[in-house]
């Protein structure tokens, strides 16, 4: 039993197997995500009750919170995958970590943009040098640094390892940055959803929000799987199986 499990896990770390095995996975994840997101957004934008103080403008929460949540989770995932790559020398881990970066950048940009749009009617300003906004901006800068480092390196293998080190240094730094900017200036309300307490939110609002977070999560997973497959094809293009695959796709070199 244990042996089968280990073998199954090892299969997943091989680029070739991952390429084949992840295809149905990303297909179903993508569809589940679409279904969840459509449900959550239709529910949230049309049927959830109006908020007492903010009126309808609060409805952007169904995009804003999931994007902010994912942008932080993806950075943590990049650091973990970088560590796995550095310690156990698993190439695939580096490939996935690299392809997480653009997804993370999109999430951080989406969180900042929706936050600005939300800030205008509620705070009366597009941008405020508030702690959470600033730390999200710093997170975006960290993401952009990772991407720039990947692109600057001539050998992609060195880019992988260098970016992993940078991501690890960044992940140690992130709590310090978060704490320091919080101490520096705070306007944003504290997080409403906490694991430790029951949420102070009406279930008609909370349910679509949770569905939306889950939908974003699955969509990110599907997106990263698809991007990682393309990365595998590019990096392993000298391998026979990858050449055959490229031939079938009509992309012969």
């Amino acid at each position: 039993m244990w042996q089968t499990l280990v073998r199954w896990f090892h299969k997943w770390t091989s680029p070739k197997w991952f390429y084949t095995l992840s295809k149905p996975l990303s297909f179903w994840l993508g569809w589940a995500a679409t279904l969840l997101l459509v449900t959550a957004l239709v529910w949230g934008l049309m049927f959830a009750p109006i908020e007492r103080l903010q009126g309808n403008s609060y409805r952007i929460i169904f995009l804003h919170v999931p994007a902010a949540f994912l942008s932080q989770a993806i950075y943590a995932a990049i650091a973990v995958m970088g560590l796995i790559g550095l310690v156990w020398r698993i190439k695939l881990s580096f490939y996935a970590a690299k392809q997480c970066i653009p997804v993370g950048i999109s999430m951080a940009v989406l969180a900042l943009a929706t936050g600005a749009i939300w800030g205008k009617p509620t705070w009366g300003t597009w941008w405020e040098w508030d702690a959470r906004l600033t730390s999200m901006l710093v997170l975006l800068l960290l993401y952009l640094g990772l991407w720039a480092l990947h692109n600057a390196m001539e050998r992609p293998e060195s880019g992988d390892r260098a970016a992993a080190i940078l991501a690890l240094v960044g992940v140690v730094n992130l709590p310090i940055i978060k704490f320091s900017v919080e101490w520096w200036n705070t306007l944003h309300q504290p997080a409403t959803l906490k694991i430790t307490e029951p949420p102070p939110m009406h279930p008609m609002m909370l349910t679509p929000l949770l569905l939306s977070i889950l939908g974003f999560f699955l969509a990110t997973a599907a997106w990263v799987l698809i991007r990682t497959r393309l990365e595998i094809l590019e990096r392993e293009r000298k391998a026979n199986w990858a050449r055959e695959e490229l031939n079938q796709m009509g992309k012969v070199e």
């Binding site: 960044g170 730094n173 940055i177």
Partner: protein, 225 residues
């Protein structure tokens, strides 16, 4: 040779090399002076307003001057091959790298700190805050050199690493500059500042312990290429 003797030699070599390239030594200081001069010209010559932002201006200028000099930290050693020897030596490379970074601080951070009282007069920083400004700059520039060392190591193999280094490392400098300026501003307003200083010292110590590990790992990538 004992390890202490080896480390002392590495430190001496670094200082000697720095002394022989005096132009590189002076440049960050000139840069510091020029950036600080530009602020009153660009923003306002009003001394009351300048006094309010003096701590921030001095800190930002010091940070930029430090960043400017970081690119040279490992470059010449990388180009002439002594970096490889450094990593192959039987002495732990983390300690050797730490020596190099401390030497870098001695020839950039420390002179910047010593120059800061003169510039703080030009920006009308309250006189009572000046000793604290020097203390925070001394601690802060050490942290900046240590964190910057990781960035310098990551970009040493690249031909145009300078600007990339800035992009990689600047976000990590945010906590240092926040607590550095906060301490000086608190002192200027007559508020307690010990907490901010303690946090700054804690960051310096944490960086002292952790960053050499990342720096060495990054240097190995550059040398391996």
């Amino acid at each position: 040779m004992t390890m202490t003797a080896i480390l002392a030699r590495v430190l001496r070599r670094e200082l000697q090399l720095a002394y022989r390239r005096r132009a590189d030594l002076v440049n960050p200081l000139l840069f510091f002076l020029i950036v600080v001069t530009l602020f009153p010209i660009g923003v306002t010559p009003d001394l009351d307003k300048l006094a309010e932002m003096a701590a921030g201006v001095l800190w930002v200028a010091a940070l930029l001057a430090n960043l400017l000099s970081l690119d040279l930290l490992f470059r010449s050693d990388f180009e002439d091959g002594s970096l490889e020897q450094l990593l192959l030596a039987s002495t732990p490379p983390t300690l050797l790298v730490l020596c190099k970074v401390i030497a870098h601080w001695l020839v950039t951070g420390l002179p910047l700190t010593l120059l800061s009282p003169v510039l703080s007069v030009m920006l009308a920083l309250p006189a009572g805050a000046v000793p604290l400004l020097m203390l925070t700059l001394a601690l802060g520039t050490l942290t900046l050199s240590l964190i910057g060392g990781v960035g310098a190591a990551l970009t040493v193999g690249l031909r145009k690493g300078g600007l990339l280094l800035t992009v990689l490392i600047m976000p990590m400098f945010v906590p240092v500059i926040i607590f550095g300026t906060a301490a000086v501003q608190a002192a200027g307003d007559g508020l307690p500042w010990a907490g901010q200083l303690a946090l700054l010292a804690a960051m310096a110590l944490g960086a002292l312990v952790l960053t050499p590990l990342a720096t060495v790992a990054a240097l190995r990538i550059a040398v391996g290429d």
